[in-house]
C-alpha cells in the first residue's frame, strides 16, 4: 500500500455498489446518445480540483488493473484516487487507458489503439467549466437520428478541428467524457463535431 494513505480525508462513494452502478449507467447512456447530459456523482465530496461527476466517473471506471494518468492540474486529487480506486497513476500519458485532466491535451499523444485492437485506446475524462452553455457544436453520427447541438464551456477554441483529426483515425481514436459539476456528456470517437 502507498505510504500516503493517511493524507486522504474525504470519503468515496457512500454506497459503492449502487452508486458505481448508477454512474456506470449514466455513462453508458451518455455514450449511447452523444451530447446528451447525464448526471453523476450527486452527494459525492471529492477533493479539489475534481468535480463530483469527474470523481464519479473515475471511481466507477478505474481499478487496480487500469492505467490512469493524471495531468498536473489534477494531481492534487492523486492520493484520494489512489486510496479509493486502488490504482497507482502512471506518469506516461501515451500508455494510459484513462487520462483525467482539466485542459484538453494533444490527442495525438494519447493511446489511440490499433486497427486490430481499437479498444486499447485511451478514454479522456475532461473536466470543463460547464455543460449545456457556452460555445455550440453540432454533433452527428451513430446514436443521433439528427445532428444535435451540444454546448460546453471550457473547450479549446479549435476543439472541432482537433476532434476531426481524432475522428479521422476511426476505428482507432480517443473517446471523450466531459464532466462539469454533476453533469456529464460523452463524445465517442465515431462522432463528427463541427462548429455550429
Amino acid at each position: 500500500m502507498s505510504p500516503t494513505l493517511s493524507n486522504i480525508d474525504l470519503p468515496g462513494f457512500a454506497d459503492p455498489v449502487a452508486q458505481a452502478q448508477a454512474s456506470f449507467r449514466a455513462l453508458l447512456d451518455a455514450m449511447a446518445r452523444p451530447g446528451t447530459i447525464a448526471t453523476a456523482g450527486q452527494g459525492l465530496t471529492p477533493p479539489a480540483p475534481l468535480d463530483p461527476a469527474t470523481a464519479a466517473v473515475l471511481l466507477t471506471l478505474v481499478d487496480g488493473d487500469a492505467r490512469l494518468h493524471l495531468t498536473p492540474d489534477c494531481a492534487a486529487a492523486r492520493d484520494w484516487l489512489v486510496f479509493h480506486c486502488g490504482t497507482t497513476p502512471c506518469d506516461d500519458s501515451a500508455s494510459a487507458g484513462f487520462v483525467a485532466t482539466r485542459t484538453m491535451p494533444d490527442l495525438a499523444h494519447l493511446a489511440t489503439g490499433t486497427d486490430e485492437a481499437p479498444e486499447s485506446s485511451a478514454t479522456l475524462v475532461l473536466q470543463v467549466l460547464a455543460l449545456g452553455s457556452g460555445p455550440a457544436f453540432r454533433l452527428a453520427g451513430p446514436g443521433l437520428k439528427a445532428p444535435a447541438i451540444f454546448r460546453a464551456e471550457g473547450l479549446p477554441p479549435d476543439f472541432a478541428a482537433r476532434w476531426a483529426a481524432n475522428h479521422a483515425l476511426f476505428p482507432r481514436g480517443i473517446d471523450l467524457v466531459l464532466c462539469a459539476g454533476t453533469a456529464l456528456a460523452a463524445i465517442p470517437r465515431s462522432i463528427t463535431v463541427t462548429e455550429a
Binding site: 494513505l5 493524507n7 480525508d9 450527486q42 465530496t45 463530483p52 486510496f83 479509493h84 459539476g181 454533476t182
Partner: protein
C-alpha cells in the same frame, strides 16, 4: 446539488506513534471480537465522532504459502477479510483490516486506531482497551499451547530405553 461540506474539521494529522507500536495495537484489535472490544470501551470516555471514508467492506485475500525455504510460493487458499477506514473529528485517519466478516469489529478497530494516534487519548485507551485485550489473547494462546503440550509424546523416553 453538492452540499457544502459542514464546518470543515481540522486537517488530517500524522500520529506520533511509531510504526511498531501501531502494528501492535492494530494486530491486537484485528484478533479481538467486536463484543470484547465494545466491553473494554465501556470503561473509557466515548471515542470522538468519526466519518467513514471507506467500508466496512468484506472481501477475499489470497493467502500464499511456500514449502521450505527454497520452495516456490503457492496459493494456500482464500481468507475473508473486512476492512474499514475512518477519519475522526479530531483529525486522525484510522484503518482496520480484520479477519472474517464482522463489520462492527472492523469499524470499532478503525475508530480505536484513529483515537490511539491522538496523543491526548493514547495512554488511556492503550491501558483500558489494548493491554487487557492483548493479555487475554496471550492467555488464550498459552492455555491452548499448554493443552497441546500435554498431548505431546516423548519419543525421548523410548530412545533411552532402547540404548540402556
Amino acid at each position: 446539488m453538492t452540499k457544502p461540506p459542514a464546518p470543515s474539521p481540522p486537517p488530517v494529522q500524522e500520529g506520533s506513534a511509531t510504526v511498531a507500536a501501531r502494528q501492535r495495537w492494530m494486530s491486537v484489535l484485528a484478533r479481538a471480537s467486536a463484543q470484547s472490544i465494545a466491553t473494554r470501551l465501556e470503561n473509557v470516555p466515548p471515542l470522538p465522532a468519526c466519518t467513514v471514508l471507506r467500508g466496512p467492506e468484506s472481501g477475499l485475500v489470497m493467502l500464499r504459502g511456500r514449502a521450505g525455504g527454497g520452495g516456490g510460493p503457492f496459493n494456500l487458499g482464500e481468507m475473508s477479510v473486512t476492512r474499514c477506514t475512518v477519519r475522526s473529528d479530531t483529525g486522525f485517519v484510522g484503518h482496520a483490516y480484520v479477519q472474517g466478516r464482522d463489520a462492527r469489529q472492523a469499524r470499532l478497530a478503525a475508530e480505536i486506531d484513529a483515537a490511539l494516534q491522538d496523543p491526548a487519548r493514547h495512554d488511556e485507551l492503550a491501558r483500558a482497551v489494548i493491554d487487557p485485550l492483548a493479555e487475554a489473547q496471550t492467555a488464550a494462546r498459552d492455555s491452548k499451547a499448554a493443552k497441546a503440550a500435554a498431548t505431546r509424546v516423548q519419543f525421548f523416553t523410548m530412545a533411552t530405553m532402547r540404548t540402556s
